[in-house]
């Protein structure tokens, strides 16, 4: 009786898991970048491993029922079967290689940034985001963490020509242009973070003391949430931002509103003079 129940439970677990998979409303939202290949490798892995899981559950269920204990029966005596073990080994090796190969191909794309990718700096700190875009020269200016302060939030080196025209984004909302590859250059002021937009699929830790990167190409317009995906202290769960993928016109309008580092400095010193005047008054 127990054997019968247990065998049924094993079958139920296998079948139930498959049913849950099809019934479940919880699934990823449509990809919004060029990394649909990642979804494909997940699906490939899912179906191959899924078949293996179901097969093993069924096999066990059959054994538990068919070879249930009987007092007068002896088990088969078969300590080794080299041929069977050999075949199972190479079959598994082939299966594993079949999963690995496509994975490595997509990984190769992921770590090879296209030359025309626009560089965008993402600056993470506990617990918010800042962004910097290159000016017309397309080059992000050099920075130094020792220069970071309220008047120079990115620690740009003053006088560096490449940096003076960089656009400093006000607030934690970023805009991207559809179908234009971007390379996120990731910087942190304090601890580890991770710049993650679920619909973009890509991910990379942000490590203080170095610049990490990854690239994407947005493929559909929309408004997406940015999450920090590497634990960064008590406020980790609240470290969220927004990214908008725009058509070219909208993107240009947004760009036009951003101010350069040069103007930012000038504005700051004006405000400083104002405050000094106010203080004198």
């Amino acid at each position: 009786m127990l054997a019968l129940i247990f065998a049924h439970v094993l079958v139920l677990i296998a079948v139930g898991s498959v049913i849950f998979h099809f019934w479940s409303p919880w699934w990823w939202t449509e990809v919004a970048s060029n990394w649909g290949g990642m979804d494909d490798t997940i699906l490939l892995t899912f179906w191959i491993t899924g078949v293996v899981f179901v097969a093993i559950c069924f096999f066990m269920a059959y054994c538990v029922w068919k070879f249930r204990y009987q007092k007068n029966r002896r088990s088969d005596y078969n300590p080794e079967n080299k041929k069977l073990e050999f075949h199972l080994t190479w079959l598994t090796a082939v299966g594993v290689a079949a999963l690995l190969a496509p994975g490595l191909i997509v990984w190769n794309d992921y770590v090879t940034v296209p030359k025309n990718a626009v560089k965008i700096e993402v600056l993470a700190y506990q617990w918010d985001w800042k962004y910097r875009l290159p000016g017309e020269d397309g080059i992000l200016g050099k920075t130094d963490i020792n220069l970071v302060n309220d008047e120079n939030p990115f620690g740009l080196i003053q006088g560096d020509k490449n940096g003076m025209d960089d656009l400093l984004v006000d607030g934690n909302e970023l805009h991207l242009q559809i179908n234009k590859p971007v390379k996120f250059e990731l910087r942190s002021l304090d601890v580890l973070h991770n710049f993650y937009v679920p619909q973009f699929r890509g991910k990379m830790d942000i490590v203080p003391g170095m610049i990490t990167y990854y690239w994407i190409e947005p493929t559909r317009t929309g408004d997406f949430e940015i999450l920090c995906a590497e634990y960064c202290g008590t406020g980790h769960y609240a470290m969220r931002g927004r990214v908008f993928v725009d058509e070219k016109n909208d993107y240009d309008n947004w760009m036009a509103k951003q101010i350069t580092f040069e103007k930012f400095l000038a504005k700051n010193s004006k405000e400083k003079i104002k405050t000094i005047k106010l203080a004198k008054n």
């Binding site: 677990i13 849950f20 892995t45 088969d76 598994t92 995906a229």
Partner: protein, 612 residues
């Protein structure tokens, strides 16, 4: 277990004569065993209650001490997980502050991985089973073995003390990644993390003392005739895991020491220039990624330090309760050793998106998927052992089979995460949480339960209650599957792990609230059922059904002691002699369906033994 020493089992080095012949040589040629090479050990005899039961040097008692301490600490880990799950599913209750939530996450993880699983498998089952299964009177160095337990206990006390220091325990996540582990934005970044690091250092020191014993005893104090290839797979699993631990724990030790220095003395091993909360710290030039390499150089073998003993034990349970030889014993041994060796070449698969050179990804994805091959072989051999067996669905067997299902599930999702591209979208999400709980939380715990139901009569002389055991089994097995299987789908959605609040966000197409509530309710029920198990332990130890000798009709030496539970010195006057492996079940021509390891060939003349 009584401590009066009726047998004179002091070492007699004159037992071994110079020409190498043993005193009691068997006359029959078929029963010939090569002579002993190493004289019997000196056995320590305790003379007081304190030295027998408290500062015990008897491995069996030390094992039980380890087990009690580990399970007690694990209970705290369980309660912490309840509180976390309540917070995630029912944030409206306002049960926890974010800082407390992260502190509980951290302590839950560290307690379960290190202070429960590692301590219970190696300190608990290692001490109980290695001497008994190898046929020796005790561990090689009983005094050091005793110290090992007391160091472990101090480590636990230091860990628990961190709940009571200013700032509370560390909330850095069990991986303790710097810089956040020691900067202001994380709870317990001063006293809490320091105590955690000290506790780990003590644990490693204590573990090393025990580990030396497990290794030396297995290598040197096997009884006459017990070749390495006759050892039960349980011993192989624990032995290999201990060797791994000896190589892996030093990396953790170094990481802990360096981080303590960074925290206390302001060095910069792991600390670059940092502006923390608007204030520049005085650190410069250190590498946060270096810590991750050290941590995972320990951390990945650690997975196998827990898994290999489970593999070994479950192989024995499946073979004994199927009344069938384990299929492919030699392949099983080599798979254990192979997995152990490979486990040192895969650590950076935890770091695909850590910012390390992306070129590492190719290497570590390849090694990680290679390790799937010996692991798969083990699964095949377990299920092929069932084929044409005579399967008794005893409680230990139910748990063993539940382990196979759970482990296969968790192992297969490991192929997702090990394959570098697939890992990118899934890493740091609930998919990872579901995967590692399935594969190294639930799966090993199921083996521990199976092992306790199996060896409880050896420890107490009584059987655990079957009815309570059945309830415990069904709720734990099905309940934990219901907790963790759906959790993978949260990972597919992209829900990040370590979020104090998982409110519905635009990236979720469907609300996750109901799923979270379901998982939490299941976790509460499964957790509560463990209390029934603890009650069963206490109840059955006092009033359980008396066990007959060798109740499962097993072949290995621990059941063949003159008394059960085994007394001081384990084997009475003379150590057993071993003539065969532990898996002679269903041998054609033999009278019984099992042949104990001590049965000489002359006693089973008609049998057709293929491997011994």
């Amino acid at each position: 277990m009584h401590d009066d020493n009726e047998y004179k089992i002091e070492a007699k080095s004159d037992n071994v004569s110079d020409v190498g012949t043993f005193e009691s040589v068997t006359t029959s040629d078929v029963d010939y065993l090569p002579p002993k090479e190493i004289p019997d050990q000196d056995l320590y005899h305790s003379h007081s209650w304190w030295t027998t039961y408290v500062f015990s040097q008897d491995a069996k008692y030390i094992g039980i001490q380890y087990a009690f301490t580990a399970i007690g600490t694990g209970l705290l880990g369980l309660i912490l997980s309840w509180l976390m799950r309540m917070q995630i599913a029912f944030p409206g209750l306002g049960l926890l502050e974010p800082a407390a939530y992260y502190q509980f996450v951290t302590m839950h993880g560290m307690i379960m991985v290190v202070y429960l699983l590692t301590a219970l498998f190696l300190g608990g089952f290692g001490n109980l089973l290695i001497p008994l299964m190898c046929g020796s009177r005790d561990m090689a160095f009983p005094y050091v073995n005793m110290l090992s337990y007391w160091m472990f206990l101090i480590a636990v006390i230091v860990l628990l003390a961190s709940f009571f220091v200013p700032g509370g325990p560390t909330g850095a996540g069990w991986t303790l990644y710097p810089p956040q582990a020691i900067t202001a934005g994380t709870a317990g970044s001063n006293a809490g993390i320091t105590l955690m690091l000290i506790s780990l250092v003590l644990f490693v020191a204590g573990f090393t003392m025990g580990g030396l014993n497990y290794i030396v005893t297995t290598l040197q104090y096997r009884t006459q005739g017990m070749t390495l290839m006759r050892l039960p797979l349980t011993v192989w699993g624990i032995f290999t895991a201990t060797v791994l631990a000896m190589f892996a724990f030093p990396a953790l030790l170094v990481g802990c020491i360096m981080m303590t220095l960074d925290n206390v003395l302001g060095t910069s091993f792991f600390m670059p220039t940092i502006i923390s909360m608007g204030e520049k710290l005085g650190t410069e030039g250190g590498s946060p990624i270096l810590f991750q390499h050290l941590f995972w150089f320990f951390g990945h073998p650690e997975v196998y330090i827990v898994a290999l003993p489970a593999f070994g034990i479950v192989s024995d349970l499946i073979s004994i309760h199927s009344r069938k030889t384990i299929f492919g014993y030699r392949m099983m041994v080599w798979a254990i050793v192979g997995i152990g060796a490979l486990s040192f070449f895969v650590w950076a698969h935890h770091m695909y998106v850590s910012g390390m050179s992306p070129w590492f990804g190719y290497f570590f994805a390849t090694t990680t998927l290679i390790i799937a091959v010996p692991t798969a072989i083990k699964v095949y051999n377990w299920i092929l052992t069932l084929w044409k067996g005579n399967i008794q669905l005893t409680l230990p067997m139910l748990f063993a089979l539940a382990f196979v299902v759970t482990f296969v599930n968790g192992g297969l999702t490991g192929i997702f995460l090990g394959n570098v591209t697939v890992d990118v979208p899934l890493s740091d999400t609930y998919f990872v949480v579901a995967h590692f709980h399935m594969v190294m939380g639930i799966a090993p715990i199921l083996v521990i339960f199976g092992a306790i139901y199996h060896w409880f009569p050896l420890i107490t002389g009584r059987m655990l209650d079957e009815g309570m055991g059945r309830i415990h089994f069904w709720v734990t097995f099905i309940g934990s599957y219901l907790i963790y299987f759906p959790m993978h789908y949260q990972g597919f959605v992209g829900v990040p792990r370590r979020y104090f609040e998982i409110y519905d966000s635009p990236y979720m197409s469907v609300s996750g609230l109901s799923l979270n509530a379901f998982i939490t309710v299941a976790a509460l029920i499964v957790g509560a059922t463990q209390l029934l198990f603890l009650y069963n332990l206490i109840f059955s130890a006092r009033a359980g059904k008396k066990a007959e000798k060798n109740p499962w009709k097993a072949n290995s030496l621990e059941w063949l002691t003159p008394e059960m539970p085994p007394g001081h010195g384990n084997f009475g006057k003379e150590l057993p002699k071993v003539y065969r492996w532990a898996y002679d079940f269903g041998v054609p021509g033999a009278k019984e369906d099992y042949i104990p390891q001590t049965t000489p060939p002359s006693a089973v003349v008609g049998s057709k033994v293929e491997k011994s």
